[in-house]
Symmetry: C2
Subunit: 291 residues, 2 copies
C-alpha cells in the first residue's frame, strides 16, 4: 500500500518519501552512516515483505509505462544509475529489484573499462548509445561517473579534462531529462569494514573466486581518495532534474528496499495511465468472433 | 531434483527428457495436440512447484556459465529462439521463465518488422548483431524465421529468395553452434480456438487493449497458411545442432515448464563448472587483511 500525501507518496513502513530522506546531504558522505536504515520503520523481516509487495507495484507501473510508449502516446522512460565501491551490492540491486520487473521492459548496460574505440570518442559517446528507449526502465551498472571517479583518482585524464566533465555531465543529463527520462542516481554507500568482510567472503568461497580481482584491493587502498571523488561528484552534479541519492548499504535488505522505493516514486511521478484503444473495440470483437 | 540417466537428464515429474519428447515430429504440427501436456506427469499445481525449483537450478547453471566466461575460460552461450502465432505466450515465457534468471546474464532481442536500414541488408544482418555474448543466455522474441514465415505467407520477398533463406539459416546456425552457442528453437503451438479466446480477452479488458492490433485478426485469417509455413520451416531447418521443438501451448503453465526444462537441458549439456582462481588465494587474503 502507498500513502498519498501532498506532492509525494511513499510505501507502508516508510516515515517519509525516500527521495527526501536519501537525497545526498550537504555534508556529503560524512553525513550518511552506511550501517543505518533511515526512514524505514520496519525490521529486516518486514523489509522482505515490503520488497515483495513493492515488486508487484513496480511491475504494474512498468507495464503501464511500456504500454503508453508501445502505442506512441508517451515518451517517458526511467534511468537508474548505480555507482558504488566493489562489493557494495550493485549486482544484488540488479538481481533482486530490477530482476523482479518484466525483462521486456528493462534495458541494462554494464560499463566496464572503455574499449579502444570508446576511448577515441568523448566519454559520453558510449553512454548516449545505451540510454533507455521510451517506455523502458534503463539501468546503468557503473556509468559516465566512472570517468570522474576512477578517472580522477587514477589520473586517467588531465585535471582540466576531469574538470570539464562535471559540467558536461550536468548539461547531458539536463537534455536527457528534458527529453522525457527520469534520472535516479544512486550511490550505494558501504563502510570500509563491511567491504573487507565481503571481499574476504569471496576469497573464502571457491564458487565466489571468479568475482574477485586482485585489483579490487588496489582500489580499496585508495578508499579515502574515492570518497573524496564521490563528494566532488555530488557537489558538482546533483541537480533537481538528476539528483544524487546516497543509500546506506551495509544492510543489503535495506539498500534494495530503498532503491525500489526510489524507482516507485519516479514511476508514480510519471503516473502512466493505460492507453485508450486506437481502434473500434466493438467492431474488432465482431470481426474476431467471425474469424 | 534432476534424474541422470545415460546421456540425458530430466527433472522430477518428467517421464523422459523434454528434448526427446518435444522434438518436432515427422508429421509436423499435425502430430502435436496444442491442448496436451506430453511427458509431464504432474498436475498444474505440481507444475507451479516444478517451475519454482527449476528457476533455482537455472539460476545456478546460468551463474556458472557466466562465471566461466567472465574469467575467459569458456566461450559457450545459449540461444533460445521463440516463435509463435500472436497470443501464444512468448511474453509469458520471457517474463516467467527467463525473468527468473539474473538480468545480468540475459540478452533479450525482440525482432519487429525490419527497419529501412535493416531491409537494405541481408535478413541475417540484424540477427548477427543480436547474438548473445559468451557466457550469456540470449533470447530471440521472434527471429530470422519471420523472414520465412510472414515473409512467405505475405510474399514479402520473391519465391526464390524465400527458398534461399532456408539454406542460409541452416548454414548460419551451424556456424553459430560451432562457435559455442547451444541453440534451442521453440515454436509455441496454440490452437485456433485458444487464440480466439485470448484475443477476445484482450478486447474485453481495457488494460489489455494496448496489446491488441487489428492486424492480429488479419494474420489469424491466414492461419492455415502460417501452419503450412511452419511445417516447411521444420522440414528445412530442424538440424541436430539447432533442432526445433514444438510445445503445446494451450496450457500456459505447461509451456513455461517445458521451455524451462529445455533450457535446463541445454545448460546441463554445457555443464559449466566454477572457474579456478587465477590468483594466489592465500596471498590475497593476507593482502586484504592488511588493507
Amino acid at each position: 500500500m502507498r500513502h498519498h500525501g501532498g506532492m509525494s507518496q511513499h510505501s507502508a513502513g516508510w516515515a517519509a518519501p525516500a527521495a527526501e530522506i536519501l537525497r545526498v546531504p550537504s555534508a556529503g558522505l560524512a553525513g550518511v552512516d552506511p550501517d543505518s536504515t533511515p526512514g524505514y520503520e520496519g525490521s529486516k523481516a518486514d523489509g522482505a515483505l515490503s520488497l515483495e509487495s513493492g515488486l508487484l507495484a513496480l511491475g504494474d507501473l512498468q507495464e503501464r509505462l511500456f504500454a503508453r510508449s508501445a502505442v506512441g502516446e508517451a515518451r517517458s522512460s526511467v534511468l537508474l544509475v548505480l555507482q558504488a565501491m566493489d562489493s557494495a551490492g550493485k549486482g544484488g540491486i540488479v538481481r533482486h529489484v530490477v530482476g523482479g520487473v518484466d525483462p521486456q521492459g528493462v534495458e541494462l548496460a554494464a560499463f566496464k573499462a572503455p574499449t579502444e574505440e570508446e576511448r577515441r570518442h568523448d566519454f559520453l559517446w558510449r553512454i548516449e548509445k545505451r540510454l533507455p528507449r521510451q517506455g523502458m526502465i534503463g539501468v546503468f551498472d557503473r556509468s559516465q561517473y566512472e570517468d570522474v571517479l576512477i578517472g580522477r583518482v587514477r589520473e586517467l585524464a588531465p585535471a582540466e579534462e576531469i574538470e570539464r566533465r562535471y559540467g558536461a555531465i550536468v548539461d547531458f543529463e539536463k537534455r536527457v531529462a528534458d527529453a522525457g527520462t527520469r534520472i535516479v542516481k544512486v550511490m550505494l554507500h558501504i563502510s570500509r569494514d563491511e567491504q573487507k568482510k565481503r571481499l574476504m567472503e569471496r576469497l573464502e568461497r571457491p564458487e565466489k573466486h571468479w568475482k574477485f580481482n586482485p585489483g579490487d584491493i588496489d582500489e580499496r587502498l585508495l578508499w579515502d581518495d574515492y570518497m573524496a571523488a564521490y563528494d566532488t561528484v555530488f557537489e558538482r552534479t546533483s541537480t533537481d532534474v538528476a539528483p544524487w541519492y546516497v543509500i546506506p548499504a551495509d544492510h543489503k535488505w535495506y539498500a534494495r528496499l530503498a532503491v525500489q522505493e526510489l524507482l516507485l516514486a519516479a514511476l508514480e511521478d510519471i503516473d502512466p495511465q493505460w492507453p485508450i484503444a486506437g481502434f473500434d473495440v466493438e467492431a474488432e470483437k465482431k470481426r474476431l468472433a467471425a474469424s
